[in-house]
């Protein structure tokens, strides 16, 4: 589809050119044919006139003995012996040598049966077509040049005038392309004197402002909701911490408190990640510094190894290059830690993790379920397949968001039964 797509103006221009070429191809032979036909008709008229002149002024007193002399003195009207096949006037085009220039020239020829002193003869009359053919060619040339001029004119108009005419449209288009709902770049449409473009501008502005308003209110809602949640969560956590002190607890009570505590921890984490996502949307992390990804990974990998011992997961680390990146360190850290945690969370007991850093690419491979994850929803919020699994469904969404903010490329692949996430810084 993309390959087929063309610019509006090119499309119009192409239509013009195709139409002109078709016109040229169809009309040029027709033009030639008709010009020639009319021209022959002219010649034929002249030849008939000569025939009638001969019949009127010469034939009555003409003798057979005069034929030789007549033919000697007349080059273009001659009397030929009779042709048994000929019983009416016949026109044709024949070529005769030009004695002066030593080549052949076209003639329009008329042969008509006549009777001289009771015997059948043929009157031969001819007119030179050379001059008139020149005229036909000249006219053709003139016609072609007019057509060509017309074409150039159309091209020029389309190129310049139409381009100027459509300029407001392209301006609106560019503004719309530049527009990003999560960035606060103001959209600036120029007004146009043309009514349709004026309307387009109005509609685009309305659409954008409505979307921005919805986006803002949604953002505000998430932020407020997250902050409003914080106090009740804090109260719950504190109450729970104090409840633990009510010893002795029965086994039943202890188990209930334990699951309550686990659920609350999960809730806290979801809440924290939602807050982070809402702050990522607001582009709050503007402070940047030179960050060594290797250094950043080192600390996290130590902690990861500690975590991995329970499930006997083997971690292979190959950090070839330091990879210096100018970015917000906190965000880079969250990205790395989310990917590392992901590799551990969705692993199998006795599985493997491989972390490598070389060039400007961080690759994290892990064993896990033996099938590729759905790449289209993998990085969406709360898109996990198994609702009871350990993940919250936010870690990868956050990682993706951070990668997008920094224009890094976060990719997922499934190869040799391994899930591979790679970040190109």
């Amino acid at each position: 589809m993309a390959g087929m797509r063309q610019k509006l103006l090119h499309k119009i221009l192409r239509a013009y050119i195709i139409f002109s070429a078709a016109m040229l191809l169809i009309t040029a032979p027709a033009f030639y044919y008709f010009t020639r036909k009319w021209h022959y008709a002219e010649g034929d008229e002249a030849l008939l006139l000569r025939l009638h002149e001969f019949e009127k002024f010469h034939l009555s007193g003409f003798h057979i003995s005069d034929i030789g002399q007549w033919n000697d003195w007349n080059r273009d009207v001659k009397i030929e012996p009779k042709n048994p096949l000929m019983n009416k006037e016949q026109f044709s085009v024949e070529t005769y040598p030009n004695i002066m220039e030593n080549d052949l020239e076209p003639y329009r020829v008329l042969r008509a049966p006549i009777i001289i002193e009771g015997r059948d003869y043929v009157l031969f009359a001819r007119v030179n077509l050379l001059d008139t053919m020149d005229m036909v060619y000249n006219m053709m040339a003139l016609y072609l040049s007019i057509l060509l001029l017309l074409l150039i004119g159309l091209y020029g108009i389309t190129k310049n005038y139409a381009f100027r005419l459509w300029k407001p449209f392209y301006e609106v288009l560019e503004e719309l392309e530049r527009f990003e709902i999560d960035k606060s770049i103001p959209v600036n449409f120029k007004d146009s004197a043309i009514e349709e473009f004026h309307r387009l501008k109005g509609v685009a502005e309305k659409l954008i402002s409505r979307n921005v308003a919805i986006f803002e209110s949604q953002k505000e809602f998430i932020e407020n909701a997250a902050h409003e949640l914080q106090t009740p969560l804090a109260v719950m956590q504190a109450k729970l911490d104090n409840l633990f002190q009510l010893q002795p607890l029965t086994d039943k009570e202890a188990v209930a408190l334990e699951s309550l505590s686990n659920a609350l921890s999960k809730l806290n984490l979801i809440h924290k990640n939602l807050l982070l996502l809402s702050r990522l949307d607001q582009d709050n992390f503007t402070e940047k510094q030179d960050t060594s990804i290797r250094e950043l990974l080192g600390e996290h990998i130590e902690f990861l190894k500690e975590q991995a011992t329970t499930d006997k997961i083997e971690i292979e680390v190959d950090l070839k290059d330091a990879v210096q990146v100018n970015c917000n360190e906190v965000l880079a850290e969250i990205l790395c830690s989310n990917l590392l945690t992901n590799a551990l969370k969705h692993n199998l007991p006795g599985g493997k993790i491989r972390v490598s850093l070389s060039g400007n690419v961080l690759t994290i491979e892990n064993t896990g379920i033996p099938e590729a994850l759905p790449a289209n929803i993998l990085f969406r919020r709360f898109s996990k397949k198994n609702p009871s699994s350990q993940g919250l469904g936010l870690g990868l969404a956050i990682a993706k968001k951070i990668a997008d903010i920094n224009h890094w490329d976060l990719q997922y692949q499934f190869q040799n039964n391994r899930h591979i996430f790679s970040v190109t810084f």
Binding site: V235, F285, E299, L304, E306, T341, Q390
Partner: protein, 251 residues
């Protein structure tokens, strides 16, 4: 009457002097500035068992008044108060040249807020929600920093913990602990007689890396190692497992 006077004028300065060099052993005065009464109640409940006398200010006005009149060992400050920003308390403390240790307990956890808080004179920052044992550990650490007197050590029966050199001795026998085991020991002793959930311990041990935590199972491994090392050095087994919930330093 005579006895009262004796205590007031002679013993009190002595007691206060004693308090200052051994802050962990005696009652500390703490101001809690927090507008949510439920949360304030729970904090006071937890801390009062550990030698703290807590006063509660539920808004900015109340807080500024208390700060101006009384002296505290430590202040817990919520930044979002109904009648203004908690930053005003920090400013007031600075104006009055008071050196109380301040821990911000806030719902706002943006980097800017933390940096601004610490630059305005706060000593630590804890984001809501938090575990009460974590809060206590932070307060204890802050008070230790503030009352630095050269020998910064903690004694619990036969176990002595040197907070500077991070050395632990059981009956004078030095034992080697990893950094996490040391942190764990300090956390348990600091929260003695309290049941600590696996979550609270795990989050305390992972610190900044709490988000990387996949399970709480690693707590068990550290507890096991710490218990073994303490008992090998001849220490009593103070660490008790509390079914379903976590662990407790039995005193």
């Amino acid at each position: 009457m005579g006895a009262d006077n004796f205590i007031c004028f002679l013993l009190l300065p002595l007691i206060q002097f004693f308090f200052n060099i051994h802050p962990n052993l005696c009652t500390m005065k703490l101001l809690l500035i927090e507008d949510e009464p439920e949360l304030a109640g729970e904090i006071i409940n937890y801390l009062s068992g550990h030698g703290f006398r807590c006063e509660w200010a539920k808004n900015l006005e109340d807080a500024l008044e208390k700060v101006a009149v009384f002296e505290y060992d430590s202040i817990l400050l919520d930044l979002m108060l109904p009648d203004g920003s908690g930053f005003k308390v920090l400013k007031e403390l600075k104006n009055q040249q008071k050196t109380e240790g301040v821990i911000i307990i806030s719902a706002k956890e943006s980097i800017e807020n933390i940096v601004e808080g610490l630059q305005s004179g706060a000593d630590d920052y804890l984001t809501k929600p938090f575990h009460l044992p974590e809060l206590l550990a932070r307060i204890q650490a802050l008070i230790r920093r503030k009352n630095f007197t050269g020998s910064n050590s903690l004694q619990f029966n036969e176990i002595s913990i040197d907070l500077l050199s991070k050395e632990v001795r059981v009956n004078q026998n030095k034992i080697e602990l990893t950094k996490r085991e040391f942190d764990l020991l300090l956390f348990l002793v600091g929260n003695k007689r309290r049941v600590l959930s696996k979550q609270a311990i795990a989050e305390h041990l992972s610190g900044d890396m709490a988000d990387l935590m996949v399970s709480y199972d690693f707590v068990y491994a550290h507890i096991k190692n710490l218990k073994r090392k303490l008992s090998e050095a001849g220490g009593e087994d103070y660490i008790k497992t509390v079914y379903g919930i976590g662990y407790k330093w039995q005193a």
